[in-house]
């Protein structure tokens, strides 16, 4: 069970609370986590990654264990504390504007 913290606007869109939980079957990478998240909450498709290309949207960032992993390959394995549920995986909206 992976814990995921979504930004405020995606929580209201998906009608969920501060944190959601998703199960991974097979590989445990950023890509498989986002696949599982979108599978559970289809309304999030296109909001974190672009439709089709699955590229991260420019103003969305990913954090794991205090590190910004936004620029890591989507096939990068998730850290152990994320896999064990000790730490949540953060999807954040970049700070932009005033």
């Amino acid at each position: 069970m992976i814990r995921v913290v979504l930004p405020h606007h995606l929580r209201t869109l998906a009608k969920v609370g501060d944190e959601v939980q998703v199960d991974l079957n097979g590989s445990a990478t950023v890509k498989s986590l986002l696949d599982a998240l979108e599978n559970k909450y289809p309304v999030l498709r296109g909001t974190i990654r672009e439709h089709g290309t699955l590229k991260r949207r420019p103003l969305v960032r990913f954090f794991a264990c205090g590190e910004d992993i936004s620029h890591e390959s989507a096939d990068t394995p998730l850290p152990d504390p994320i896999l064990k549920g000790e730490e949540p995986f953060f999807v954040m909206g970049a700070i932009a504007g005033g």
Binding site: H9, N39, V43, G46, T47, E50, A94
Partner: protein, 388 residues
């Protein structure tokens, strides 16, 4: 007993304003989708409880919302339990999937170079006249999409974007947006659209093929002021009973066509400035039109701090100023292109929203105005439903 529902899209959410036919006392409901930009909402002429909304964010992209109960509750189409899984078991979630048909190609960028077409947002949603699940979407970068399943999936009507002139279309200051969609009620195969800054276009075959309809427009900022495309058309409007007579608020100039856009002539006449964004037509008088003059393309606010609506009862040329109830000093708001609408009551009601967050309404065809609400976020769009 009739009543009125005003759908207001703002920079920070959607608001629904309702009143009985007297239009004196208003209930303000919202914000819906708090914190999101709501570019446009519009109700279906087939079912007044069906409303489509364009919800958008620079961070999280485009969302389409739909209400089937007159705006009380909303859902993204295609995410009900019955819709969740496709034949392959994967989630659909395609109501925000706007993918250009084929290889997108390029259009002209601000510096004159070619730039790839990139989807950014939906500016305008236009429900079809005869089918509650059929709706058109005008998007940035300029293209026309349609959905025939209530917004669950979208398909581009690519004949427009792939017109020979496409590589010469250029964004205006607000982006290269398709912001106006008019469906001819006498012939739904005929659709008019307007694009900043490409101009106006018409199809006579339901969207397969298109022709630019910009003859008579003069844009002095262009190398060829009379060019076939490149004009910054801010808005076009018609009266449903007279769909071959079109009115246009251009970047500068108020224009009129009596031949379905084949030719245009200027009808600005005594307007204090002919720059502006919205233009609309009285519900019962096809020759009565309204504009909100704005000082200039560099100063997007009313002249001398006085907010004025101007009305012509002769389809242009002879304009009268309407100020009763509107601020006549220190007012420096703008009224955006999709932020004016009319109801179907008698006398006709006129409504517009400002970038300062006010929504003004007139229940006497513009003779006098009241602020329905004063302190909303900047208003992007206003649409009105007359409920039976």
């Amino acid at each position: 007993m009739s009543s009125v529902r005003v759908l207001v899209g703002t920079r920070k959410g959607a608001f629904v304003l309702t009143s009985d036919a007297k239009r004196k006392d208003w209930k303000v409901d919202g914000p819906h989708f708090a914190g999101w930009e709501i570019y446009h909402m519009k109700g279906s002429p087939v079912d007044q409880d069906r409303i489509y909304a364009s919800q958008t964010s620079a961070w999280f992209g485009q969302i389409i919302q739909r209400s089937d109960d007159g705006g009380k509750t909303w859902n993204t189409p295609g995410t009900s339990e019955a819709d969740l899984r496709g034949p392959d078991g994967m989630p659909k979630g395609e109501s925000n999937m706007f993918v250009y048909d084929g290889i997108p190609g390029t259009h002209m960028w601000y510096d004159g170079t070619q730039h790839p077409w990139e989807f950014k947002r939906v500016w305008h949603l236009e429900p079809a006249l005869d089918n509650v699940d059929h709706v058109y979407a005008g998007v940035e970068d300029a293209a026309l999409f349609e959905s025939k399943d209530g917004g669950k999936t979208w398909k581009e009507l690519s004949g427009l974007r792939q017109h020979d002139t496409g590589p010469r279309w250029q964004p205006g200051a607000g982006g290269m947006c398709l912001h106006t969609i008019l469906i001819d009620p006498k012939n739904p195969q005929r659709i008019f659209v307007a694009i900043s800054a490409a101009g106006a276009f018409r199809t006579d075959d339901g969207g397969k093929t298109w022709k630019p309809i910009n003859k008579g427009l003069v844009s002095n900022f262009m190398p060829d002021p009379n060019a076939e495309v490149g004009h910054c058309v801010h808005r076009i409007a018609f009266h449903p009973s007279k769909p071959s007579t079109l009115f246009m608020q251009k970047h500068w100039d108020v224009m009129r066509s009596d031949d379905g856009g084949d030719s245009w002539r200027e009808v600005s006449d005594n307007l204090p400035t002919d720059f502006g964004f919205p233009i609309d037509v009285h519900a019962h008088e096809p020759e009565t039109i309204y504009v909100v003059p704005i000082k200039s393309d560099s100063e997007h606010y009313p002249l001398d701090g006085k907010l004025q609506v101007w009305r012509s009862r002769s389809g242009g040329n002879k304009w009268e100023v309407l100020t009763k109830g509107l601020p006549q000093k220190d007012c420096y708001v703008n009224v955006l292109r999709d932020a004016m609408s009319v109801d179907q009551l008698d006398p006709c009601g006129i409504y517009f929203g400002t970038t300062g967050g006010q929504v003004y309404g007139s229940s006497d065809a513009g003779d006098s105005w009241n602020a329905i609400v004063r302190d909303l976020p900047a208003v992007l769009s206003v649409e009105v439903q007359t409920l039976q």
